[in-house]
Symmetry: C3
Subunit: 247 residues, 3 copies
Amino acid sequence: MRTITFLSDFGEDDWFVAAVKGEILKIDPNINIIDITHKIEPHDIKSAAFILKSVCGNFPPGTVHLVVVDPGVGSERKPIIIEAEKYSFVGPDNGVFSYIYDRLTKAYAIDVKAKISATFHGRDIFAPVAARVAIGKLPSDFGSEIHDLHRFEFPRVTKRANRLHGEILYIDHFGNLITNIPNTTDVKNLNISGKEVALKHFYGEGVEGQMICIKGSSGYYEIACYKGDAKRFLNVAIGEKIVASIT
Amino acid sequence: MRTITFLSDFGEDDWFVAAVKGEILKIDPNINIIDITHKIEPHDIKSAAFILKSVCGNFPPGTVHLVVVDPGVGSERKPIIIEAEKYSFVGPDNGVFSYIYDRLTKAYAIDVKAKISATFHGRDIFAPVAARVAIGKLPSDFGSEIHDLHRFEFPRVTKRANRLHGEILYIDHFGNLITNIPNTTDVKNLNISGKEVALKHFYGEGVEGQMICIKGSSGYYEIACYKGDAKRFLNVAIGEKIVASIT
Amino acid sequence: MRTITFLSDFGEDDWFVAAVKGEILKIDPNINIIDITHKIEPHDIKSAAFILKSVCGNFPPGTVHLVVVDPGVGSERKPIIIEAEKYSFVGPDNGVFSYIYDRLTKAYAIDVKAKISATFHGRDIFAPVAARVAIGKLPSDFGSEIHDLHRFEFPRVTKRANRLHGEILYIDHFGNLITNIPNTTDVKNLNISGKEVALKHFYGEGVEGQMICIKGSSGYYEIACYKGDAKRFLNVAIGEKIVASIT
């Protein structure tokens, strides 16, 4: 079975996710569709980009990653297919694929001929294209290669003296704060909102309610509160500045 | 693989959805089960009926649509199988299938012999029946044809002079308001809560926060707020009256 | 196709559930992964144990049940595989499997050799192990048998004169209160928060808003409010005491 993953801001209250899946199964009922999440805040392209970067590598080579976070649906923004080393990606050219582009990547605009709805390209364009790519159709069969893609930069860490200045990239369901400082950096301690946070090796090393910093599973340092919620405790949001001391 | 879709008001916090799926896989582990949604408000049969109507056609012919929104579970309401042109439908006879009945439809009561739970027919009756229908058993093998089905009418649009009087049918996760005025009608503008709403072709044509009306993807005009939430902005609910001017 | 069920406290907002599924599909893309729920309150091992007990039997023999509710991730708590009569279970040895142990059960510690993340064993240990067990690898291939498992007792019902003293085990999405009094006990009536609750055969037998008690689908008496929410009406939580009169 070929796998398509599906990431959107459709929520789970309506039938939109299912409509996309049904249109995929119309092309091939044997495709295995795996939800990434559909709970992206409506139109939050940057969080979708970070989630995609964090999870895409967990899937088998050949997986097609379908992303529909698409506030510009119906406008001039192009539907595209990205061909990367191991995976294909299908979705709108609005920056959502920013963090997966690399030298080996080629991108193709999807040439849309049929008369379709102006509001639901997930169902009417992206689903059938993703399904056809999954069963072996070439991205180049759908349109011409394009080069001038929408793209935003990954938030940079800056170094001043023996300090790294970074920020919170993402806050997860447990209230853990994922920073943009890579695990590969040697960090002595970390400051957020004027509070110093101690480095630990795993969550359970803290005492209940203590703020700790660990090397997170997505490749970046994260700030957590053992058996608690760091986001609520510190009352911070995505973009909050952090400072790390290095040796 | 054969596909069964599954629509319920079970929510996603408990194990009820999984129990139904497991019982389907006991009949045939190769059935592909696709969630429509399980977040119907408990016992909201009409929203379930509208969702079913909106999405069922997105699935391949032969799909079995399983619907368990069933406040009367354990009472005299009959479990039924609907055989339509392309699909089969399995669930309670309480009106949830109202919008998919048509001339080609036959319905069969499911004859229940086994001693079963009085509270979880989704697991104990509907799941195994849906699975058996999916793998080729005939609806008529489960019981006799019935004709006197529970059914409610789709909310009607009335015309007075050059005005159409309709209502809000459904409000989606983005706060978009789906009306009962078909896209095929030529509408000049639309009024809701004393506010006039401008017609546009797609969401992005509005300016941020502007109320707009577009031809929606489910076949009806819908009222939206670009990068905003029309439901919150207008503070309206399902059933809210609307008036459209026609040419 | 082989089935793996997946129960966690990961929520559905992030990519954690998908990362686990992707790593399973890397081992075998033909495994069918069914979500139980991911909405366990973070670290609520006891509710996870009750859900697992309630649903595991609904799946076909040979199913692998993967459970990742794991506040001790990265600490000394052992990753284990349980081999029961019909199913295998994979997860942490923290009591989450308490209610499925029986005489026929064998348990094996998973011997972890690779260098892995200290925070995401669901992805890095449990997913590939569950996948390998699903496709036929023996639990004993992963490590030695262990006997001294973490385990907590199922809340007991005590009898004094003609009264049973029990408690609320679980509260579901509808607000129904599941007690620890088995359906096989003959109960005359039930008291909770000083209110007597009448016995009925199914939900619809009550009048709207009436508190009723029925034999629940999970094998225990449950307290419900027809077309209402018993939890809100009574303002009770898990652990609330109940008293039942027996004949």
